[in-house]
Amino acid sequence: MMVPEALALSAVLFCIGVVGVLTRRNAIIIFMCVELMLNAVNLSFVAFSRLYGMTGQVFVVFVMTVAAAEAAVGLAIIISIFRHRQTVDLTNINLLKG
């Protein structure tokens, strides 16, 4: 049923997303890396749903909804930051500095 292969693919994609988050400084690209990680998780949900039932696919729907909401808010924040600082480079943004 190709489930182990799908899970392995999911893990690889997730790790690529992690590496992307770590190596990039552009906020939008980091955001896209997070989307990639979400997609990897979705893949594992779908793969498991072949074993354990439809609940996995239902969860994928929810994840997509959250991803859509997150994209809307996140991009709004990025636009707002860019408007103030003229950059989306995260190294130049340290509003959280203690």
Binding site: V21, L22, R25, L90, N94, L96, K97, G98
Partner: protein, 736 residues
């Protein structure tokens, strides 16, 4: 049927009788305390400069000061002494005068009822009335319960009976004091705790009472707290008693650790597991005696009692003569089974008692303050009681406790009556002399005939002249000491290498010497106070009068008791009457322990020997009195202000062997030094404040500083840290 019979056999003969109401005996004074305390609080709120009439109330033990406990230092003396108007009573004086003695009287009636029920029941075992479970943790289960047995009821009778008389006396003595309700609140609270002490059915209950009476003693010694000396005396009593309480507590811990119970019944039953004469039981008894020495003013902890005379005189009579200070004697009688197992501890008790009796009697020889004489006399008589319980004559010790409560309460109240008269006389003329100094008295028999006669009865009683109460009880103790010199576990034991019989002979001789001194200093007090010419002063003399009936009536009752109190326990050789009544009465409680000391045989001397001993004792008392009358010249005395300072050994006695000064140098000052340099500067300021408090604050600030440096605001860095954390957690999982 069988079941019913079994239940009837198991039920205590006192079950269902008045003894079921034993809890009400201490509760009644507690109710009195609540009422009087609330009245006191409500009147304090209203006291103030608005109502100066109340502040004119003047009364105190000393002529010059500390009359205004409500504390108005600004109030001048000169003006107030000129107006002879009767001082204003406290607004609640009427209701307090009713409630204070009434609760005691009710309590006394109930105690009498229970006493009669107990006498009729012939109960061999104590009746325990369980109220509620007080402490229940782990294997320790302590109930709040009261015990009705022969010993506790004798004590309760003395406390409520003498207590009632002293409460009535206080109505007259304290009537003009601004702190009148407060005084009765404290006094009622004291009686409550004292009854808890003697009626409690286990050691923790006893300890609650023990600490409670200590608190009330402190409050009443410092009753006129606006004068520093009085407040200091209260603190001294409290602190010295803490040393003793430490010993008492250690004894309780040891008891619980080894017997697993703290109820009297449990300890008495479990004491058989303790080996006779073992180090453990000796340790327990010695620590317990340390507690007794604190509470009952024995060497080396007696120093607080003379200072405790700073309190009102009825307080001295009730707390510091008749009841509280005898709690140590009660404790030893209550723990008779334990003490009978340890001849060494018993000998220690007896020897310390004898030493205290002699030592305090010598100091009493040269005191000028009438209350100080009586205070040292109390210490001395308490020593006698410890001699009694120390040599295993528990009934004799309790007997002396009872008779002493009668005649010493009478002596104190009589001196209170004298001070009252002296103070009033001085008050009328604005004289600031010392109303308690015997050098300012003299010849009072003309002015106070009732007090004079009653005081002489008490003096003869304490000196040991038959047929007054003190003769029987003192003779009983001395005879017991003599009887124990042969054929007792005490005589067979060795104490610090000295044979026990030698010790007992020494104790007997010291007891005789103390008896001689007692006769001398008591006669001296009477001579200087009531005989010879009056030294009070021309103007004051006209104002010297007998105290009102509310004060003399209790004196009269106590006078009768002092005269006939000896009939409670007539000596065995007495031809008629109820011989050794108290001895037999207490047999269910202390009989077994007393028999263990005397190796199972009733300790009785040959009647011929007893006659000789009694003859010696009476002769010594008579010699003492005669010596005092012959040698002391009241005519030669001059008033305090004109007296030269005494010299030589007399000065040593007058200054109480400089024991207080010695303690100050040896104990107090080093302790203060250590407290200041090590505990305060080193421990408190350095370690606690410096290292622990400020140090932890510095540590938190440092960690916070590092943490805030780490908050770079770089989301990328956070992501790195997060991922490293994920790797670490997953690593921990995958390596497991």
């Amino acid at each position: 049927m069988l079941l019913q019979e079994a239940a009837a056999a198991g039920a205590h003969p006192l079950a269902g009788t008045a003894a079921e109401w034993i809890w009400l005996v201490p509760i009644l004074p507690l109710i009195g305390f609540l009422i009087n305390g609330l009245l006191s609080l409500s009147s304090v709120a209203k006291l103030g400069p608005k109502n100066p009439a109340e502040h004119h109330a003047h009364h105190g033990d000393h002529a010059d000061d500390h009359h205004d406990a409500a504390g108005h230092a600004a109030h001048g003396h000169g003006g107030s002494h000129d107006d002879h108007a009767q001082p204003a009573r406290h607004r609640y004086a009427a209701i307090v005068s009713l409630v204070g003695p009434a609760v005691l009287a009710l309590s006394f009636l109930l105690t009498t009822t229970i006493f009669i029920a107990l006498a009729g029941a012939h109960a061999e075992t104590p009746f325990v009335k369980r109220m509620f479970s007080w402490i229940a943790t782990g294997n320790m289960g302590i109930d709040a319960s009261f015990q009705v047995d022969q010993l506790s009821m004798v004590m309760a009778m003395v406390i409520t009976g003498v207590g009632t008389l002293i409460h009535i006396f206080s109505v007259g003595y304290m009537q003009d004091d601004p702190g009148y309700p407060r005084y009765f609140a404290y006094l009622n609270l004291f009686v409550f705790f004292m009854l808890v002490l003697v009626l409690g059915a286990n050691y923790p209950m006893l300890f609650v009472g023990w600490e409670g009476v200590g608190l009330c003693s402190y409050l009443l010694i410092g009753f006129w707290f606006s004068e520093k000396a009085n407040a200091d005396a209260g603190k001294k009593a409290f602190i010295v008693n803490r040393i003793g309480d430490f010993g008492f507590l250690v004894a309780l811990f040891l008891l619980f650790a080894n017997l697993g119970t703290l109820s009297f019944a449990g300890v008495n039953a479990g004491a058989d597991q303790l080996a006779p004469g073992s180090a453990l039981v000796t340790t327990i008894c010695l620590f317990m005696f340390l507690g007794c020495a604190g509470k009952s003013a024995q060497i080396p902890l007696y120093i607080w009692l003379p200072d405790a005379m700073a309190g009102p005189t009825p307080v001295s009579a009730l707390i510091h003569a008749a009841t509280m200070v005898t709690a140590g004697v009660y404790l030893i009688a209550r723990s008779a089974v334990l003490f009978s197992l340890s001849p060494v501890a018993s000998l220690t008790v007896a020897f310390v008692g004898a030493l205290t009796a002699l030592f305090a009697a010598t100091i009493g020889l040269k005191q000028w303050d009438i209350k100080k004489v009586l205070a040292y006399s109390t210490v001395s008589q308490l020593g006698y009681m410890f001699v009694g319980v120390g040599v295993g004559a528990y009934a004799a010790g309790v007997f002396h406790l009872v008779t002493h409560a009668f005649f010493k309460a009478l002596l104190f109240l009589g001196s209170g009556s004298v001070i009252y008269a002296m103070h009033k006389a001085y008050h009328h003329t604005g004289n600031h002399d010392d109303a308690q100094d015997m050098r300012n008295m003299g010849g009072l028999r003309k002015f106070m005939p009732v007090t004079f006669i009653l005081m002489w009865i008490a003096t003869l009683a304490i000196a040991g002249i038959p047929p007054f109460a003190g003769f029987f009880s003192k003779d009983e103790i001395l005879g017991s000491v003599f009887a124990r010199t042969h054929g007792s576990t005490l005589a067979d034991a060795t104490w610090l290498g000295i044979p026990g019989s030698t010790m007992l002979y020494a104790i007997y001789v010291m007891g005789l010497a103390a008896a001689l001194l007692t006769a001398i200093y008591m006669t001296r007090m009477m001579l200087y106070t009531f005989h010879g010419p009056n030294r009070t002063g021309e103007a004051e003399r006209t104002h010297l009068t007998e105290a009102p009936w509310v004060m003399t009536a209790p004196l009269a009752v106590l006078g009768v008791l002092s005269a006939v109190g000896g009939w409670l326990n007539l000596p065995a050789f007495f031809p008629a009457g109820p011989v050794q009544a108290l001895h037999h009465w207490l047999e269910p409680v202390t009989g077994q322990a007393a028999l263990r000391v005397t190796k199972g045989a009733e300790a009785h001397l040959e009647h011929s020997t007893e006659y000789v001993l009694v003859g010696i004792a009476v002769a010594i008392a008579a010699i003492g009195i005669a010596f005092a009358i012959a040698r002391l010249k009241p005519q030669a005395l001059v008033t305090k202000s004109q007296s030269p300072a005494s010299e030589g050994f007399a000065r040593v006695l007058e200054e109480k062997y400089f024991v207080d000064e010695g303690y100050d140098k040896v104990v107090v000052q080093p302790l203060l030094g250590v407290s200041r340099s090590v505990l305060w500067k080193g421990m408190d300021a350095g370690l606690i404040d410096g290292l622990v408090v400020n140090g932890s604050a510095q540590l938190a600030r440092g960690i916070g500083w590092v943490g805030s440096r780490m908050q770079s605001g770089q989301v990328g860095t956070y992501a790195w840290v997060l991922i490293i954390g994920v790797v670490a957690v997953l690593g921990a999982f995958s390596l497991r």
